[in-house]
């Protein structure tokens, strides 16, 4: 659905307007129906990448295809975009801005506007001027304008940065419901817990380079670092010291190569294995490890 091919981008900076490259030939694909997280610390190039995909900023080199084509007004009609910290017109109401934006598309009526306002929880505040909206409310109206025309592809830039915990949960629920409807979603974030909860795939960007791409579940599954083994009814296993003791239960933490030895030792001592849980790295740990490699 989105193909980013060898994209380079630089900006002029400082008094002498020297060129500074912020994207060093990044490439990735976003498949149809996937929820993809674009991860990276502040200044990694996430927003620049998204602006290039949206045609707001032209790349110096490389190419971006959306729906297999170069971005045009027609392709834009099938994209919903929420920028970082959205800001709209102070003296227009939430409803007015949605009405105005709905004119860009066909067959959008008041019913659709009300539906979207309800979805983002702004129905009561829809007739207030936007200058009286809080940061979270502006984020919601931003989401409403992105969803208004029921686009196939949704691109969100740091969608949860201005939201409180309840707002973030609601936003995650919206993304989940969009995913169930088969929408493709690309969103950038530096809040890794949110990404871990809702993404199918992740693209890690650091200093303008893609450092890792993968399916989130596989990435986490393949990254088993140790096993937690709960043992009952024995004094424990020889040569292994438990992490915790509670009543007749022992909790051991062992590496993959030690697992067989531990189980054998427990059996020999007449103990019972209650559970063996593989523990993998969190997304945050994987991300930090990848960053350190650079």
């Amino acid at each position: 659905m989105i193909e980013v091919k060898e994209v380079r981008k630089s900006f002029r900076e400082g008094f002498l307007l020297e060129r500074k490259e912020v994207l060093h030939g990044i490439s990735f694909n976003v498949k149809s129906g996937a929820v993809v997280g674009l991860l990276g610390p502040n200044g990694a190039g996430k927003t620049t990448t998204i602006k290039i995909i949206m045609g707001i900023s032209p790349p110096d080199e490389g190419e971006v295809l959306v729906f297999g084509k170069k971005l045009s007004k027609e392709t834009k009609k099938a994209i919903g975009f929420l920028p970082e910290a959205p800001y709209f017109y102070d003296y227009l109401t939430g409803r007015e801005i949605l009405r105005s934006f709905s004119d860009f598309y066909q067959n959008l009526n008041e019913e659709k506007i009300n539906e979207v306002l309800k979805l983002v929880g702004l129905k009561e505040e829809a007739d207030r001027m936007l200058r009286s909206y809080s940061k979270g409310m502006l984020q919601r109206i931003g989401l409403a304008q992105a969803l208004l025309h029921d686009p196939e592809l949704l691109i969100f830039d740091e969608p949860m940065s201005g939201l409180d915990p309840i707002g973030r949960k609601e936003f995650r629920d919206v993304i989940t419901s969009l995913k169930e409807k088969g929408k493709t979603i690309l969103f950038s974030s530096h809040i890794l817990q949110d990404v871990e909860m809702i993404c199918d795939e992740v693209i890690m960007i650091y200093r303008g380079k893609v450092i890792k791409i993968g399916v989130l579940n596989e990435m986490l599954k393949n990254e088993v670092t140790y096993y937690e083994v709960t043992v009952e009814g024995t004094g424990g296993a020889d040569n292994f010291s438990p992490l915790k003791k509670s009543g007749g239960r022992f909790l051991y933490r062992v590496k993959e190569g030690e697992l067989d030895g531990l189980i054998r030792s427990v059996m020999e001592n007449g103990g019972r294995i209650r559970s063996v849980i593989p523990r993998s790295l969190t997304l945050e740990e994987i991300f930090i490890r990848e960053v350190k490699k650079v």
């Binding site: 949206m54 045609g55 707001i56 800001y87 801005i97 860009f104």
Partner: protein, 253 residues
């Protein structure tokens, strides 16, 4: 075209509800009413004093709206990144900028029309009808269109404050073109005379939109003047809009 219409409509509504716009509007009404009082203090035909002063107020308010309402609304969209949300819609940068131009220009139109009607009625209350006020208001409207394009061009590459300053300087300079041209004749050195004259030719001349004296003194204006003014307006607004679009397209948002 649809994109231009949407942006023009949003800009117009945003502008007309802006507190500064409303303050300017009431300020203009107070100044126009003040012209009644002024006409009592000055020796001469009171209707001429009201018309002269009133048209001055119209010019002042036009430029204030362009500089303090129109330009900043565009700069704010760039600064607060509203433009990013808008440009993600099926609209080009050209359409966005032209939409802004029409939106701001519509704000000026409403203001000028309201002031022209009020001024006309004030003079009518003295028993005189000066239809020329509407002609001058229309010429001012054309002038403000050009100024809006110039302001958008400056706002595309610099800060809101500097854009205000540059636009104001432009306004002052283009109103001095005829004076500069006349001043060149009094220079003794042929080189300086040629340079100053050349500069005067290069600068736009906003005297094409000034009929204040003719309106106040009821002088006849040849129809050719209106044709020239309109062609001149078209040439300038097209030139400055293309320039503004070019600058805006180059801008990294």
């Amino acid at each position: 075209m649809k994109g231009i219409k949407i942006i023009a409509s949003v800009t117009f509504r945003e502008g007309i509800r802006d507190r500064i716009y409303l303050i300017f509007f009431f300020f203009a009404i107070i100044l126009l009413l003040f012209s009644l009082f002024l006409s009592m203090l000055v020796i001469g035909d009171p209707t001429k004093v009201i018309a002269d002063f009133g048209m001055g107020v119209m010019s002042l308010l036009g430029i204030l709206i362009v500089i303090f309402v129109g330009g900043p609304s565009f700069s704010k969209e760039l600064q607060k990144r509203t433009v990013i949300s808008v440009l993600s819609k099926p609209i080009s940068r050209e359409e966005f900028l032209v939409g802004k131009l029409f939106g701001i220009w519509s704000n000026v139109f409403v203001n000028l029309l309201a002031m022209a009607v009020l001024l006309f009625l004030l003079i009518l209350a003295k028993g005189v009808m000066i239809w020329g006020i509407f002609v001058q208001a229309f010429l001012l409207f054309l002038e403000m269109g050009i100024l809006t394009a110039v302001d958008l061009m400056f706002s595309s590459f610099t800060t809101s404050f500097l854009a205000m300053l540059f636009t104001l300087s432009f306004y002052v300079v283009v109103h001095l073109t005829t004076t500069i041209e006349k001043a060149s004749q009094s220079l003794s050195s042929p080189i300086s005379k040629a340079v100053v004259r050349y500069i005067a030719y290069l600068l736009p001349n906003f005297d094409y939109f000034n009929l204040k004296n003719q309106v106040v003194y009821g002088l006849n204006v040849p129809p050719l003047f209106y044709c020239k003014s309109f062609v001149y307006f078209l040439a300038l607004i097209i030139f400055f809009t293309i320039l503004a679009v070019w600058v805006f397209k180059k801008k990294e948002i």
